[in-house]
């Protein structure tokens, strides 16, 4: 892995004294695609909103977010404004409400071109049309004058992607980009993101609650639970040899595509509330492999294999052990 493009270290966020992120360490290399999975509320969106300074003022943020060597957390507004949309772009879950209803599509794209590439007038309009072509919107020239409410959800998400591409970012953070869309459209948007990454060489962080989506699109997957990353590994490795009991639980809840039909295994219990976090491992109360040592302290990530780390004191036990627990 080459030098990291973005490095998060000990990133913590709390709202009104309630911790939402409890120390995130994550780095993204140039051109890399990283998936961030977890249940809703585990902090996967908050991680990147915090990194880009997009959380409301009442959020308390500590730790470090570095882009190359520039610290973003205490950065001045004009520095952040250059980074946002220029070096790191972000798209969101609900494309229909993520576009400003009173501005035409074209204006919303050219605004980004003006800010990050100093383009204006006809040149910006031509580039905006090219971007709409690039994200696969038919009849792009005419669509520039359309309003967001005149487009479908999938088309609006394509427009959002075009806006994100306008600043030629080195990293695109896609926060549940397909959750609000029909299944068929989902696949198209994911394919588009893949193609764009291949064509532009930008890095991609794909946030999703859907393991399947992330597995298909990303080289590396980070699994989050209750405000921490509990396991990270190359996609194939994560699926073949999950080390954290939570990841195993998630995989156990997926229906297998081949082999005999089996009952899907649900993880017992629920995610602990922020004000009732267990003292040790947050997953301990639901964990089938729980031992008393789990309650002593939140476990650090340990290396399981090259590029594969898990925050579990029992992660390095032989696999047979785990299978027994989740049979």
């Amino acid at each position: 892995m080459s030098a990291a493009l973005v490095t998060l270290k000990g990133l913590r966020v709390s709202f009104d004294g309630q911790a939402a992120l409890r120390g995130i360490d994550l780095s993204v290399a140039p051109g890399e695609s990283v998936g961030l999975v977890g249940e809703s509320g585990c902090g996967k969106s908050v991680t990147w909103l915090a990194a880009l300074g997009l959380l409301p003022g009442r959020a308390q943020i500590s730790g470090s977010v570095k882009l190359d060597d520039v610290e973003l957390l205490q950065a001045r507004p004009h520095v952040l404004d250059r980074v946002r949309g220029g070096r790191i772009a972000m798209i969101f879950q609900d494309p229909a409400s993520s576009l400003n209803p009173v501005h035409r599509i074209g204006k919303q794209i050219t605004e980004a071109l003006r800010l990050h590439r100093a383009m204006g007038g006809a040149a910006a309009r031509a580039e905006a049309k090219r971007l709409l072509d690039q994200v696969g919107i038919p009849d792009a020239a005419r669509r520039l004058d359309a309003w967001p409410h005149e487009l479908s959800g999938g088309q609006n998400q394509r427009v959002m992607i075009a806006i994100a591409l306008a600043g030629r970012p080195e990293l695109l953070v896609a926060d549940e980009p397909t959750t609000a869309l029909d299944v068929t459209i989902q696949a198209q948007i994911l394919r588009l993101l893949q193609d764009l990454r291949r064509d532009t060489g930008m890095a991609l962080v794909l946030i999703s609650h859907d393991l399947g989506v992330v597995a298909d699109s990303c080289e590396r997957v980070c699994v989050m639970y209750a405000g921490r990353i509990v396991e990270q590994a190359p996609s194939a490795r994560l699926f073949s040899a999950p080390a954290h009991p939570y990841t195993r639980g998630l995989l156990g809840a997926l229906p297998p595509l081949d082999g005999p039909r089996r009952r899907l295994a649900a993880i017992p219990g629920g995610v602990p509330e922020p004000w009732a976090m267990p003292p040790g491992c947050a997953f301990a109360p639901r964990c089938a492999m729980h031992v008393s040592a789990c309650d002593a302290a939140a476990p650090e990530q340990v290396g399981v294999a090259p590029g594969h780390r898990a925050a579990c004191i029992r992660a390095t036990l032989p696999a047979s052990h785990h299978q027994a627990a989740y049979a």
Binding site: P77, R84, S97, P101, A146, L181
Partner: protein
């Protein structure tokens, strides 16, 4: 667009007719103008003669019919007190009223909207709390109380400004402030909540995420959206330019339309009251019509039926 406008126009006309009809009926049910104008101890023959002269002896439906017939010929009736055309009496008073309500409207807009925006942008801060405290005080205190309070302080105690009358521009200051403060308070609260609503929308986060500086996010992305609900309340204020000063004109003895209305109602001067109400309804309805048109300009979603793009994403 034309059809939209046509239906709105028709609705406006119906509203005006309903207001005028309602006023016509209520006025005739609530007292006998002949008795009031002629005085309680006038001889019965004189009262009867008055009734016949003004057509008050006819059945109400016939009076109504005549009244509407006359309106369409541009005749709004004459004052029963001095026999002059009601419309002339009313028109004479309009400049005086506008001399109060237009400056007051400017205060409402110039004070209320910036205060609301500032409060929203500094939500839960000291500024926000201070603005909202003043706004609540501003619109919970009725205008006659505020008016009397201002008179007490600035006319009686300090002697800086006159307490009533219309002799100079200085006489207009207290009534204008009285009206402006209440309206500014309403507008500040309304603008604040409209801004807060908009600032919480995902497209504001999108604008920040694409690197738009915060000032430009507020001006270019938040305000145009927050303007849409705010226009409603401003339209209402514009609509009450003619009739919004009834109380304040009475408190400050300002000879405007509002005072004329109070006097005419007390005297059962039917034609004058009806003329004023017709005018008020017409202004209000026109303001609403303009608001509807502005909605279309401000919000593309309301402009016409969306021509949803067909085909796949």
């Amino acid at each position: 667009m034309l059809r939209f406008f046509g239906s709105r126009l028709l609705r406006a006309a119906v509203t005006i007719v309903m207001v005028v009809t309602f006023a016509f009926i209520v006025l005739r049910l609530s007292g006998d103008p002949a008795q009031i104008i002629m005085g309680a101890d006038a001889p019965p023959e004189a009262v009867d003669a008055f009734r016949t002269a003004w057509g008050l002896d006819q059945p109400v439906w016939l009076q109504y019919f005549h009244y509407f017939g006359a309106i369409f010929q541009g005749d709004l009736g004459r004052s029963m007190r001095d026999g002059r055309d009601a419309i002339v009496l009313v028109m004479e008073r309009i400049p005086a009223t506008l001399a109060l309500t237009i400056p007051a409207l400017l205060i409402k807009l110039g004070l209320g909207i910036p205060a609301g925006i500032t409060a929203a942008l500094h939500r839960n801060s000291f500024i926000d709390r201070a603005v909202m405290l003043m706004a609540v005080a501003g619109f919970t205190v009725p205008s006659f109380v505020l008016g009397l309070l201002l008179v007490l302080v600035f006319a009686v105690q300090l002697g800086w400004l006159p307490s009533g009358g219309q002799e100079s521009w200085r006489h207009a200051i207290l009534p204008i402030i009285t009206m402006g403060v209440g309206g500014a308070a309403v507008l500040a609260r309304f603008t604040r909540s409209a801004m807060l609503e908009v600032l919480g929308q995902p497209y504001i986060r999108t604008a920040s995420a694409k690197g738009v500086p915060w000032r430009a996010v507020v001006w270019g992305h938040a305000l145009p959206n927050a303007a849409i609900p705010t226009v409603t309340i401003v339209g209402f204020m514009v609509g009450s330019l003619i009739a919004g000063a009834v109380v304040v004109e009475s408190v400050f003895s300002w000879p405007g339309v509002g005072r004329l209305l109070v006097v005419a109602v007390a005297n059962r001067d039917l034609a004058v009251v009806q003329c004023i109400l017709l005018l008020v309804a017409a202004t209000m309805v026109t303001a609403n019509l303009v608001v509807d048109l502005l909605y279309g300009l401000l919000d593309p979603r309301l402009r016409n039926q969306p021509k949803r793009a067909t085909g796949a994403a």
